[in-house]
């Protein structure tokens, strides 16, 4: 019932349907009662009229009465018959029932219509003084009359009973039809790619929702332009930051090939390292900005092992420098529908992180496994791991694991988090070895929807 109430207050369509149905029900009830009452009245009037007609007929034809006594006419229905008798004969009434005629009407009854109880039965009686001076009473049992009147009144209700459900169906259908443009509209917007920011067609919409759609279109246009500005800013920043960096590193590279004193060369090494570090930081910042932006990305079925391979090709020199045994554990490849660059950058940052924080001679393992809901990509290292209380913090930009002395940019896991957030992946951190509380194990689960 609560759910119904909420649905009712949420949906204009339901509200309208219910309100219209209630209104129709109310009107139908009132009209029904009125029709019933007036039909009842009319039938009673007609019955009274027929009593009067009988009396008039009797008077005009100068009929004489002969009581039938005990014998019965064939078509006679005792209940519905019309009784005619001289009022004066009422005194001669024999039986104490309503069957044998004459009936014991009160002799003093005045002319005109009245309802009285005779021998335990209600009678509608018309008393008339004939031209001969005799007074007759024309009567009929009230029960029969009421029954007939009620039947007739019920019949007058029949159209309402048939029309009411028909009307409800028509109203429901009409409301649904009127709301169809809204349903089609929302379905159209719903099916859109999240990058599709073109305007909604407002031509064939009812004038009531058009202003709303126009406002939405204005909003869409603003979002599209903001996104375009953001995209251009990232592209410009990339260019503006990379050019001086390139100039710097190229000049340094040329300098290194020049003859120089031993002291100068000793100074040169940290300089080159500093340049390299700045270059890395710029690349990571741009990668983070790109990961957070909502620019168009093409999704295809991507082999996870192919991504592993590209990452290893890129990072193998780094691992070999530290003598780290890096490799892929899973035998079976898996495919996921995703933007390949997104998955590549995500895995690369995780593996880069693993190599950086694993000491010389350590081990890094990559694997992909199918799960109930999709695939699970796992990157495990033999480094110190991340303590449980630190795990939420490491995704913050520029957060650095204190005391490791590692010269990372502090952005790697933020990039991972930004990509995971956008593609709807879940990233979990734990110890690779729970007993020794060491080693980082990163699990990235991707939904089956994307595989």
């Amino acid at each position: 019932m609560d759910g119904f109430k909420r649905r009712l207050s949420d949906s204009v369509q339901s509200q309208l349907s219910v309100a219209l149905s209630l209104a129709i029900l109310l009107v139908a009830l009132l009209a029904g009662v009125f029709a019933f009452m007036s039909a009842l009245d009319e039938v009673h009037e007609m019955q009274d009229e027929s009593l009067r007609q009988v009396a008039v007929l009797f008077d005009r034809q100068h009929m004489t009465l002969r009581y039938p006594g005990a014998e019965r006419l064939v078509d006679d229905d005792e209940e519905s018959r019309i009784i005619v008798q001289y009022l004066a004969d009422s005194a001669k009434a024999v039986g104490n029932d309503d069957v044998s005629i004459p009936l014991p009407f009160p002799v003093t009854l005045a002319d005109g219509l009245s309802t009285l109880n005779i021998a335990g039965e209600n009678f509608r009686a018309l008393v008339r003084t004939l031209s001969t001076g005799e007074r007759i009473v024309v009567a009929q049992e009230a029960d029969v009359r009421d029954k007939e009147a009620r039947e007739s009144a019920w019949h007058s209700l029949l159209p309402f009973l048939i029309l009411f459900p028909v009307l409800l169906l028509v109203v429901g259908d009409l409301v649904r039809k009127l709301f169809r443009p809204i349903a089609t509209l929302s379905a159209e917007i719903d099916q859109r790619d999240h990058q599709a920011l073109h305007s909604v067609d407002e031509q064939h919409l009812p004038s009531e929702i058009r202003p709303f759609v126009v406002a939405i279109n204005r909003l869409l246009k603003r979002v599209a332009s903001t996104m375009e500005t953001q995209r251009r800013f990232i592209a410009d920043a990339a260019h503006e930051l990379r050019s001086p960096m390139t100039a710097l590193s190229l000049q340094a590279e040329r300098l290194s090939s020049m003859p120089m004193s031993e002291a100068a060369r000793q100074r040169f090494v940290p300089l080159a390292q500093g340049i390299e570090r700045s270059r890395m930081l710029i690349e990571q910042l741009l990668a983070l900005a790109a990961a957070q932006s909502v620019a168009q990305r093409i999704e295809t079925a991507v082999s996870v092992h192919a991504v592993f391979r590209r990452v290893l090709e890129d990072l193998l020199p780094l691992a070999e420098d530290k003598g780290i045994d890096i490799g892929v554990e899973s035998v079976e490849d898996r495919r996921v529908v995703i933007n390949e660059l997104d998955l590549f950058i995500l895995v690369k940052n995780l593996v880069d992180n693993a190599i950086r924080y694993t000491s010389t001679g350590g081990r890094v393992d990559l694997s992909v496994e199918p799960t109930d809901s999709g695939v699970l990509i796992e990157i495990k290292d033999s480094g110190p791991g991340i303590s449980a209380e630190e795990r939420a913090l490491v995704f913050e930009p520029f957060y650095r694991n204190l005391g490791t002395g590692e010269a990372g940019s502090g952005l790697g896991l933020s990039i991972v988090a930004a990509i995971a957030d956008r593609i709807g992946a879940r990233v979990g951190l734990s110890f690779a070895d729970e007993v020794k509380q060491s080693g980082l194990r990163v699990c990235v689960s991707l939904d089956v929807r994307r595989s």
């Binding site: 503006e240 590193s249 190229l250 193998l316």
Partner: protein, 221 residues
């Protein structure tokens, strides 16, 4: 060899020009697209190094103009834009390769050599990654320590496959594809056997195993 360098950044241009001169390339350096097109009209170049972010005329427009003149000169794009669109547009427009700033001089020279080699119709008869070189005609391989070892045709096919893209990891099935023709039955452990043989001949560091992925030769420098 004559190279046209189109770069508006003075520091970058200066460094590249000097490095190219050191590597014995004759280099003409221009700083905008219009001058570049004028230079291409008057002089024949062996290779063009084209920056995309140029003042006046954008690098991609310059590329279009070059190709519109049916000039088939090998062209390498140097850019700071990492947008996938730019990259695809550049390659679609007829660039031979694409280098993202910042890069090392050594990598630029290697890419230039690769472009020239491809354009030369693979005329080069030597594959080299700095650690091992392979003569494609005599099927002999040498390293710093070992000189001119004759390889069997399958050993040669395997090493050639690895040396075509140094630094790339090839899986067992990819190597099998390169070694065996259609319809040849693949013997189990054949790849391991050949790699073992190659390592014995050339030294174990020459071919590296990447656990769970495959094998590679080092990218060298």
């Amino acid at each position: 060899m004559r190279i046209l360098l189109v770069e508006d950044d003075l520091m970058i241009g200066d460094a590249i020009e000097n490095a190219l001169n050191d590597a014995s390339y004759a280099t003409d350096w221009v700083k905008n697209g219009l001058t570049a097109l004028a230079a291409l009209d008057t002089q024949t170049y062996d290779l063009v190094l084209l920056d995309l972010g140029l003042p006046g005329k954008d690098g991609l427009d310059v590329l279009d103009a070059i190709r519109a003149r049916n000039n088939p000169v090998p062209l390498l794009i140097i850019t700071a834009r990492d947008g996938l669109d730019d990259r695809l547009r550049g390659l679609d427009a007829g660039a031979d390769d694409f280098m993202l700033k910042p890069f090392a001089i050594a990598e630029l020279l290697a890419r230039m050599r690769a472009v020239l080699r491809r354009r030369g119709g693979n005329a080069q008869s030597l594959l080299d990654n700095g650690e091992v070189s392979l003569n494609l005609v005599s099927k002999r391989a040498s390293t710093a320590d070992v000189s001119e070892v004759q390889l069997s045709s399958r050993e040669f096919a395997l090493l050639q496959a690895l040396l075509i893209r140094p630094g790339a990891i090839l899986s067992r099935s990819e190597l099998e594809d390169r070694i065996y023709g259609w319809g040849n039955e693949v013997e189990s452990n054949a790849v391991e056997f050949l790699i073992h043989a190659l390592r014995r001949k050339l030294g174990s560091h020459v071919i590296r195993n990447v656990r769970g992925m495959g094998w590679m030769v080092s990218k060298g420098v």
